[in-house]
């Protein structure tokens, strides 16, 4: 989680730097009385780098995908119950033959 967050922050910083340089470029164009036809080359490069970094961060930071199969190894539903001290196992049920395949 940490690395994705840092990369996302870097991407946002690069984007804000690109925005700032575009603002300055527009100020320059206003002085020279020319039209704004597109951002400068280095701003475009910064935007592409920022987009790639942010995309990488957006795919890794929010978390991993968890498997939804109930049979997979990471979805075991077994756990010791809280009142296991009160459970009795020495009853008549222990004489029944086991009828299920239990996964240990």
């Amino acid at each position: 989680m940490n690395l994705g967050f840092v990369i996302g922050v870097f991407g946002v910083l690069i984007l804000s730097h690109a925005a700032y340089s575009t603002i300055q470029y527009r100020g320059l164009l206003k002085i020279m009385e020319e039209e704004f036809s597109g951002p400068t080359m280095n701003v475009v490069l910064e935007l592409i780098i920022g987009l790639v970094l942010c995309m990488w961060a957006a795919l890794t930071f929010p978390g991993k995908f968890l498997s939804i199969h109930p049979d997979s190894d990471e979805n075991r539903a077994v756990s010791l119950p809280d009142n296991s001290d009160f459970m009795i196992f020495n009853h008549r049920g222990r004489l029944f033959p086991p009828e299920v395949n239990m996964k240990f």
Binding site: L15, P39, M55, L59, P62, F65, I68, H69, A77, M102
Partner: protein, 114 residues
């Protein structure tokens, strides 16, 4: 639907069951990724200075790249993490559009007008 539970008796004859809380977690991950990326796409469109239809085309391009990225993250096997492919590809598409337009106008005003 509740969390995953299977009784041993019907382990043989129930096929379409899955852990719903994991599915919700996966959907939340997709939603977060798409929202963040539509905000970034909006800021980008504002900085470059797109106006009109070009901006929406840009948004669709970014969302397509996001879908490909999400499919790659799921390892191209949606069966393991979702119940249908449509969720991976189209969930959160239109909600992100609103965020995109909001940040697009915001960044455009910031950079080009003020």
């Amino acid at each position: 639907m509740g969390s995953s539970e299977k009784r041993p008796k019907d382990a043989m004859n129930d096929i379409p069951t899955f852990s719903a809380e994991n599915l919700q977690n996966n959907l939340k991950v997709i939603q977060n990724s798409r929202t963040f990326l539509s905000i970034i796409a909006g800021v980008l469109a504002g900085i470059i200075g797109f106006t009109g239809l070009t901006g929406f085309v840009f948004y669709f391009v970014v969302m397509l790249i996001t879908s490909v990225g999400l499919m790659a993250k799921a390892g191209f096997s949606a069966d393991l993490y979702f119940d249908s492919w449509n969720r991976v590809l189209f969930d959160g598409f239109l909600g992100g559009l609103m965020s995109f337009v909001l940040f697009w106008t915001f960044a455009y005003d910031l950079v080009h007008i003020f």
